[in-house]
């Protein structure tokens, strides 16, 4: 339900503070448009191999929460506050603790624990916090400089950026409850991405339980007054659809403050794999939705999956950049998707900058299921994954497991991307992991080159006819590494069985690389280069003493720098790597104590460039957990 309140005059006195510093990192995505780019160039192609650990910080979560860490995913990207706000490096832990550090030493300056409600089985994660300078508050007064945190238990906090104390003038003692009158239901809905702060508003999306029910909570986006916490407007992406829910915005939101636009990446409607009760395209699920920042009114939208039957959420922050081609400059937006497409738009109008074609796709065989006859596909750039997998493509270590994979593939329903899941096992390639995921992409300065990491492991899925009394257990998240899961879709005649397409040896049946880093030239509409991302040397029963660069599933993103280097962790091999942005060559790597399923950031502090990444593991990878924050720099 769309809801709007009067725009408070106060907003005109508020700004998000200083613009993105060229060598700072003021926002989760580097800037408000999520470019994941820094001009910092002290670390460059020539010297990156000299990079070493500058400091290590441990949050203490492992000590505090012990085995509770098994249900966490460490995804936070720190931000660097401006000098007036204390110039701390600030990040959040999976349990939403906010910690401020000395950017040069990693020493802790303060921390804030919102003491979240940890009931329910939903995984704990926090991708970041957001900063704004509240111009209506007197200089040097408490909470002139604010941090905003959206928590697992659906509270929005405003705290003082200099000491971590709650802002008393925001909501009730610094917090606003986002869940409204229906109350907080543990496990149903949470927040994980950093809120978006602009124009005097804090815009907050949500993560909503996947799979389990036909009518999950609505995925309403809320905008609050950044000073008071008063609700200003709401946007329910599924307005008018009764027999569904979610279409929530769990990925980071982008904002074009100059043009008064906020861009929402909306996710799939519920239930994910059965759409009989939600006929039609299901607008505005699976879309990029541009709203008027001040009012929340719809400006334009683009739905990249119609009537989703594959859980193809819009998984990543829309990236805002300048499209310069043939002497023309257009404010643009690029969106990467789970289905491995790259869409580019004029962000003011929604007009595609690469023609979008209507790709005919196969029909569904489920009674009453009206799958969309076409799905949008950009004429360029090309898909980042070749989504067809034929028996002859089967991969294996030996003829035996390769043959087994070929038989498995031959037995699948498989007409490529957008083959609807049926009562027969169906190929899902890419699966719900992507393609691209929440790491999104990094845009290399003004070059139009987008660096994006993707997953390349085939999944399969099958609808299992199920009487209601035999429903499988509800699940709160996606299958873990190597796991097949069967979950209920309450309110439908089916359960869904999903898992990776694996050989008897536990190896993906599709050929490697299973994770890739790709450089996409957005202006030319071509792939400039691609390379395997990750080594499988730790994924077998025994760790190999050398890297086997076949790529791994990966979660998290990267950062591109003015030094011509791209830093990324994300892989299932505990590595952080530096790549040459022009060639894809690996220039440097470092072994961390855990998988770094988070997006790194970089900044220059007191003349020294640092690269910082969280290394805490991801529950889905089942490869251990930790509470490390690593900073790297060149030797002094």
């Amino acid at each position: 339900m769309f809801f709007r309140k009067a725009w408070p005059l106060m907003a005109v006195f508020i700004s998000t503070g200083v613009p993105a510093a060229d060598e700072g990192w003021l926002y989760y995505g580097g800037d408000q448009g999520g470019r994941h780019y820094s001009d910092a160039s002290q670390i460059d192609k020539a010297n990156v191999s000299d990079l070493d650990v500058a400091w290590v910080h441990r949050s203490g979560d492992v000590k505090t929460f012990g085995e509770g860490m098994e249900n966490t995913s460490t995804q936070s990207t720190p931000i660097l506050l401006p000098e007036a706000a204390g110039e701390s490096l600030v990040y959040c832990t999976p349990f939403n603790r906010v910690i401020a550090l000395d950017p040069g030493s990693g020493e802790q300056r303060w921390d804030f624990d919102p003491k979240i409600d940890r009931r329910g089985t939903r995984t704990f994660r926090c991708r970041g916090v957001s900063y704004a300078e509240e111009m209506s508050v007197a200089p040097n007064a408490q909470c002139r400089h604010r941090l905003y945190l959206a928590t697992h238990d659906r509270r929005l906090w405003a705290i003082d950026a200099r000491n971590g104390e709650p802002c008393r003038d925001f909501g009730t003692n610094g917090r606003v409850e986002i869940f409204g009158d229906e109350g907080y239901v543990p496990g149903d809905i949470s927040s994980s991405s950093a809120p978006t702060v602009a124009g005097g508003l804090v815009v907050v999306g949500s993560g909503v339980i996947d799979f389990s029910r036909s009518t999950t909570p609505r995925g309403t986006v809320n905008a609050f007054n950044s000073r008071t916490g008063e609700l200003v407007w709401q946007f329910d992406p599924l307005r008018g659809h009764r027999n569904s829910g979610a279409a929530n915005v769990w990925a980071p939101i982008s904002v074009d403050e100059e043009n008064g636009l906020v861009f929402l990446p909306t996710s799939a409607p519920s239930p994910d794999y059965y759409g009989v009760d939600r006929p039609g395209d299901n607008l505005y699920a699976n879309s990029i939705v541009a709203l008027d920042l001040a009012s929340g009114e719809l400006r334009w939208h683009f739905q990249h999956v119609r009537h989703d039957l594959w859980d193809y959420d819009t998984p990543a922050q829309p990236i805002l950049f300048e499209w310069t081609k043939n002497g023309e400059s257009i404010p643009a937006l690029v969106q990467v998707t789970k289905q491995s497409y790259v869409f580019v738009f004029n962000r003011l109008t929604g007009e595609p900058l690469w023609e979008i074609t209507e790709q005919p796709v196969p029909p569904s065989q489920i009674p009453g299921e009206r799958a969309s006859p076409t799905q949008p596909k950009p004429i360029a750039p090309p898909p980042l994954i070749d989504s067809f997998l034929m028996p002859s493509d089967a991969w294996g270590f030996t003829p035996w497991d390769r043959g087994n994979c070929a038989k498995q593939i031959a037995s699948l329903n498989n007409l490529g991307l957008f083959t609807p899941t049926s009562e027969k096992l169906t190929l899902m390639y890419p699966g719900s992991l992507g393609g691209a995921n929440w790491g999104g992409g990094a845009l290399l300065a003004d070059s139009g080159v987008l660096l994006v990491n993707i997953n390349n492991a085939a999944f399969t899925g099958q609808l299992i006819p199920t009487p209601p009394e035999n429903s499988a257990q509800a699940r709160t998240d996606h299958p873990e590494s190597g796991e097949r899961m069967q979950v209920t879709m309450q309110g439908t005649p089916y359960n869904i069985d999903i898992g990776a397409l694996m050989s008897p040896l536990g190896i993906p049946c599709n050929p490697p690389p299973w994770g890739k880093l790709i450089a996409v030239d957005l202006f030319k509409g071509t792939i400039a280069w691609e390379t395997a991302l990750g080594s499988v040397h730790e994924m077998g029963p025994v760790t190999a003493p050398f890297h086997i660069t076949w790529g791994t599933p990966n979660l998290g993103g990267g950062v591109a720098t003015g030094g011509g280097v791209f830093f990324i962790g994300a892989t299932m091999d505990r590595q952080i790597r530096a790549f040459d942005v022009d060639t894809g060559d690996t220039l440097w790597k470092y072994t961390l104590p855990n998988d770094a399923t988070a997006t790194p950031m970089t900044y220059v502090y007191k003349g020294r460039q640092y690269v910082v990444i969280n290394a805490g593991g991801h529950f889905m990878f089942q490869r251990g957990y930790g509470d490390y924050l690593y900073a790297f720099a060149l030797p002094e």
Binding site: Q365, I379, S392, K424, G525
Partner: protein
């Protein structure tokens, strides 16, 4: 001024309110400048899907009669007018004109109408011109394909078209998408697994060419020629479409029966659709197969990953017995000939003594059944009196080819999964592939060989086989006119070709649309018209033999791929099917039977 405007608004509303239902009305289509638009294709579709029993895996059970969803298409005249009967239920009209954005209006959003001088309702409809990007994107496959030069290697382009253009359109928007070279190669490998024969040693080169030349066209779309403008004769005809099967079906050949029904074969689901074009009712007859027969028949299943497939036989081509009206059908995946009795609705299977891939079929005046055997390079004759087959071997072109043909029984003795398969080479298969067939007025049987670029004549009296060179590329199907002239489509050469058996001379005729790749044809003997199947241009084409003039008929759906065409002897109505493979890539995602007839009396706009 205000009063005048109010009056202008009220008049049509009042007139509409008192307009009697059940009468014809006129759609007047114009552009934003108020200029009338002629040759606007207006298609009326029933808004609600017809209820149907589709309980047999999504299809009608054997013997059950359903009603097909139906569309009716007419074109505006020079004044921009087109008439329809008044709405009889919830319907939708789609107005489509070259260079304009499709407009949909229906029972719920029909613009207001006024009455003309005769009191008939006139509904005004304004179309918006496409922008440059929309215009070029709307062009059919053939004009884009025409600009692919394959680096100037015409031979390579011909080879590509021969192997890649017999299932689906080649330059539709989703084929023009940017792909990496590896992604193109993956496409070729997949298509070869489905039955294409693109030589392996050409994959890399063609992948690179498609990537670079499509990029070039995207950067310079102005070089893509405009499609042929729709012409005035269209306002004199109407097209009716019946939706049969679903997105997984492939409606291949069909036949018009003297009993008034049209029989269409679903090549992928072994079903025969019996359609009454007067009522739109259809009944499905499931072609029986033996318990030991497998999907894909003796050829093996090439579509293992398809969500559903039921082609134990592969219902391919149809011919009618002049004696009793029984329908003979070639099941291309078995060594059999099918006979269907339209009176009893029973099938009879005639076992063949040999030969592989029964293909196109015709009957002669003596009730003999003739058909090509595409893989074994033979022609079969089934004598209905003796119920015996006679196989005519067509000559091999080389010792290697002869050896391959002789070894076919051995090769087919292997299980399909373990059968040795030679890699496709630059002559595609090593096989000559007899394809089209027809019987001349003098009883002679004529056959085209697609890959051999020759034609064969069989004298049924002497059994003498004569081979004649065909000086063009890709003789796919042929038909014979009332004068005994042999009409042949040259697939890769985009030509209609006439062969005069009396003089042994060929005449060729350029098609009226660029880079069409004609699959088949038929001759309206009574009216002296050759009808040519289009598959890349969303058109079918007619050629008046006497005047040598063409007419072009745009199809009401994009990605309309036709393989067969039939003419009703009774009234000259022309039928074709939308046989794009896969069907779900066609606009609307469903296969249809389409009929073109002259506009009914009294329907032409006044």
């Amino acid at each position: 001024m205000l009063k005048r405007k109010t009056c202008q608004l009220l008049v049509p509303i009042v007139l509409l309110a008192f307009s009697p239902l059940g009468q014809a009305f006129t759609l007047h289509v114009k552009n934003k400048m108020g200029e009338p638009l002629s040759q606007v294709m207006v298609t009326r579709t029933t808004a609600a899907k017809t209820k149907a029993d589709l309980s047999d895996d999504g299809y009608a059970p054997n013997g059950v009669t359903n009603s097909a969803d139906t569309t009716l298409t007419r074109f505006t005249d020079t004044a921009g007018n087109v008439r329809f009967d008044d709405d009889y239920g919830p319907v939708q009209y789609r107005a489509r004109a070259q260079g304009y954005i499709d407009r949909y209006v229906g029972s719920g959003n029909m613009p207001g109408s006024i009455a003309d001088a005769t009191g008939e309702r006139v509904v005004g409809l304004i179309l918006t011109a496409m922008n440059e990007q929309q215009l070029i994107a709307s062009y059919p496959s053939n004009v884009w394909l025409s600009q692919l030069s394959f680096g100037g290697d015409e031979e390579l382009k011909n080879h590509f078209e021969l192997n890649c253009a017999f299932c689906h359109q080649q330059a539709s928007p989703f084929m023009r998408n940017e792909r990496t070279v590896e992604q193109w190669r993956s496409v070729f490998e997949r298509m070869n697994s489905y039955g294409a024969q693109l030589p392996l040693d050409e994959h890399q080169k063609i992948a690179e060419l498609l990537q670079s030349e499509y990029r070039e066209l995207r950067e310079n779309p102005e070089v893509v020629p405009q499609p042929r403008p729709w012409e005035g004769h269209l306002s004199e005809i109407e097209m009716k479409e019946w939706v049969i099967g679903d997105g997984f079906s492939q409606m291949h050949d069909f036949i018009i029966h003297p009993n008034g029904f049209v029989y269409v074969g679903d090549n992928l689901f072994d079903r025969l659709y019996e359609i009454n074009p007067e009522t739109g009712d259809y009944t499905v007859y499931k072609v029986p197969h033996k318990p030991d027969q497998k999907i894909g028949g003796i050829l093996g299943n090439r579509f293992v990953t398809f969500p559903k497939m039921y082609n134990y036989l592969g219902v391919h081509s149809f011919a009618i017995s002049p004696r009793d009206g029984n329908i003979f059908i070639t099941p291309s995946m078995q060594q059999e000939l099918l006979e269907f009795d339209p009176k009893t609705k029973q099938f009879v299977t005639h076992e063949m003594p040999g030969g592989y891939y029964p293909h196109t079929i015709r009957t002669d005046a003596q009730d003999r059944v003739w058909f090509t055997l595409a893989v074994s390079s033979q022609v079969a004759m089934f004598d209905r009196v003796t119920e015996e087959f006679k196989l005519y071997d067509l000559p091999a072109r080389s010792v290697k080819e002869w050896l391959i043909l002789q070894s076919l029984p051995l090769i087919f003795a292997f299980d399909p999964e373990n059968r040795p398969r030679p890699s496709p080479d630059d002559v595609s298969t090593g096989l000559p592939m007899p394809y089209g067939i027809d019987v001349a007025p003098d009883g002679g049987v004529w056959v085209t060989r697609l890959y051999a670029n020759d034609i064969a004549h069989i004298d049924p009296e002497t059994d003498e086989v004569t081979m004649i060179d065909f000086p063009f590329k890709g003789p796919r199907r042929l038909r014979i006119d009332a004068d005994g002239m042999i009409w042949i489509v040259a697939f890769q050469d985009s030509l209609l070709v006439k062969y005069d058996p009396g003089t042994n001379l060929y005449s060729s005729y350029e098609l009226p649309v660029i880079n069409e790749i004609p699959y088949a044809l038929n001759v309206d003997k009574d009216r002296g018209v050759v009808w040519v199947n289009g598959n890349q241009s969303d058109t079918i084409l007619s050629f008046d033999i006497a005047t040598e003039k063409w007419k072009v008929y745009p199809m009401p759906r994009q990605r309309f791929f036709t393989r067969d065409i039939e003419v009703s002897e009774e009234d000259g109505a022309v039928y074709t099917t939308n046989s794009h493979f896969p069907t779900w890539q066609s606009e609307g995602g469903v296969p249809t039977l389409l009929r073109i007839t002259p506009l009914p009396e009294g329907v032409a706009a006044p």
